[in-house]
Homo-oligomer: 386 residues x 2
Amino acid sequence: MSFPARGFPKSEFESRTRRAQDAMAEQDLSAILLTTEPDIRYFTGFLTRFWESPTRPWYLVLPASGPPIAVIPSIGAALMATTWISDIRTWRAPDLTDDGIGLLADTLVEVAGPAGRIGTPMGHETLARMPLADLKRLEALLSPRVLSDDGWIVKRQRQIKSPAEIDKIEAACRIADRAFARLPEIVRVGVPLADVFRKFQILCLEEGADWVPYLAGGAGQGGYADVISPATETPLASGDILMLDTGLVWDGYFCDFDRNVAVERADAASMAAHAKLIEAVDAAMAIAKPGARACDLFHAMDRIVTGGAGGSDAGRLGHGLGMQLTEVPSLIPADRTELAEGMVLTLEPGIETGDGRIMVHEENIVVTADGARMLSTPCGSDLRVI
Amino acid sequence: MSFPARGFPKSEFESRTRRAQDAMAEQDLSAILLTTEPDIRYFTGFLTRFWESPTRPWYLVLPASGPPIAVIPSIGAALMATTWISDIRTWRAPDLTDDGIGLLADTLVEVAGPAGRIGTPMGHETLARMPLADLKRLEALLSPRVLSDDGWIVKRQRQIKSPAEIDKIEAACRIADRAFARLPEIVRVGVPLADVFRKFQILCLEEGADWVPYLAGGAGQGGYADVISPATETPLASGDILMLDTGLVWDGYFCDFDRNVAVERADAASMAAHAKLIEAVDAAMAIAKPGARACDLFHAMDRIVTGGAGGSDAGRLGHGLGMQLTEVPSLIPADRTELAEGMVLTLEPGIETGDGRIMVHEENIVVTADGARMLSTPCGSDLRVI
């Protein structure tokens, strides 16, 4: 299997930055403060698994023009210097007295000037990855300037993927495709579900995943109870419906799709449920094009899996996908986000199969100028038997 | 290899809750709001990789007495119901109008009463995993009650591990030990570092890791440039010093240690540097007992690796370890945390080897009543050659 090039050309980061700055100008923002891994990576290319350590805060300041400024712990300076960012300001974290806040406030004041507005993501699906006490300290240092909402500029912009980003997501999908194709190597009656989970992660790595941040699933007669539980030691039984849902990463981009298989034999109800799930995915695919709305895709699938109940406890029937396992928009009745070329989405209909059991199917697609294209290799209607 | 039992008895969660409630009483707090994965898992046992999805907020309310109350998306209700928590309040997330904030405010008001103080973690190494706009909305709904700092109650308490927690961390260490023992299977001149990373994760899974959230490292003549960079495609060369640093998870608990090996042959300078790193670890081990302070361990190691320079860009020479890859305390000059029985720490001295290169060694220890015990199998002074 051939993979696309790693990383991005400098021009891609320049273009991302300029687009954000155009939106900042419209909203009269002189600076945006970013604190999370995907937001900082999106504008810099700073890719490291070190974010797994919650100790240190990392900050990036987007000015009204010119490249972003990194305000980061000195342990990250060498790696940040390999990106296109040249203005890198560091402190020796952790510092129990001032963990970068003085340096950050100085930078923001310098960038925003005496009267500039400073934004930071505050809306749905965002968070400030820093202690609340430090946020308060920062606000005090910035006063009379007020830290305000960034107007979802970054979140909205990240919804539209560049061709290079789509290539990376597709590479992640291809890796998962190949791992799923090898399920017969690890699925057998009597194998504990926890072993299947462990071995499936190995298959993902063998096929080229950089790492496997997410794996969920379930197994049971006629379906499974939920889709977020960790694996148990319960052995697979003949007739079980096994579902594995993986979010593996290649060069910092996720896939997120699942496969259902029947162990040894498939019962008629599960086969019918699976066919309905595929029918729902096909219905969403048929209307997924620029101008359609996230809620339209929801309803197209919901009509088929529930007859139009309008929602379920799972909450949504798909979502955005990219640098994070799940991104905006959400395929729910209330999300009226208009689809646009370059959006990568999951289609994830679920169906109740009785006795508190469900089956969920998921594919990954990209919206193109004249429709949608599958990034995962589409699963046929027939429930696969292993 | 035999593993301890998974999960914890209900009594452990009851005891954790009671201890937090004792501290809450001292600080006159009627409720604590928790929002992060480890904090919520610590009091409930709610273990899922679903936190990888940033979409949904999850809330837990610790009352002044009695079990915690979960305020969570309905997609998590089935899994939460398998824990000892019985008061589970749900909404269908994501909800673009009110993503659980009304329900959360009602719960906090009910628990805290008209005049009760409500705390949430705000200090060093904490964050609020929820949108800032939702935090403001919550504060408005709680008014005139003020959301105040929890006084680091939860962070401080989580530093001391129970015997069952230590068993899980030790299980993770044993798995990593065995993966490191198998390095000769994957380390060879000409193998790209990225392949070594991928295969080492496979070894960790084969040896029993549930998943491998963290792997970092480096390779080069006489050391490596930093310890947080992702792997490159550069092939291993004869004489390279290869370092792999893994944080794998078993039943929700991390190990975090590394190993340095020389590829084919070890140069004298790297051998001497390695011996000094082990000497530093031994010096810290010798004084790691209840009553010693985090800073004492720092100085014991710093004297040996730098002659007492007092700090470096890496910022610290070790840290707490447990449900997260890194936890408080920090082994830095400013951290005067007193060690106590049950604390699990990493000892992580680094040494400059010239030309901007470093070597870092790391072990995991637990503080006992009369000293410290290694959880990782201690590495001898001799630099291993593969």
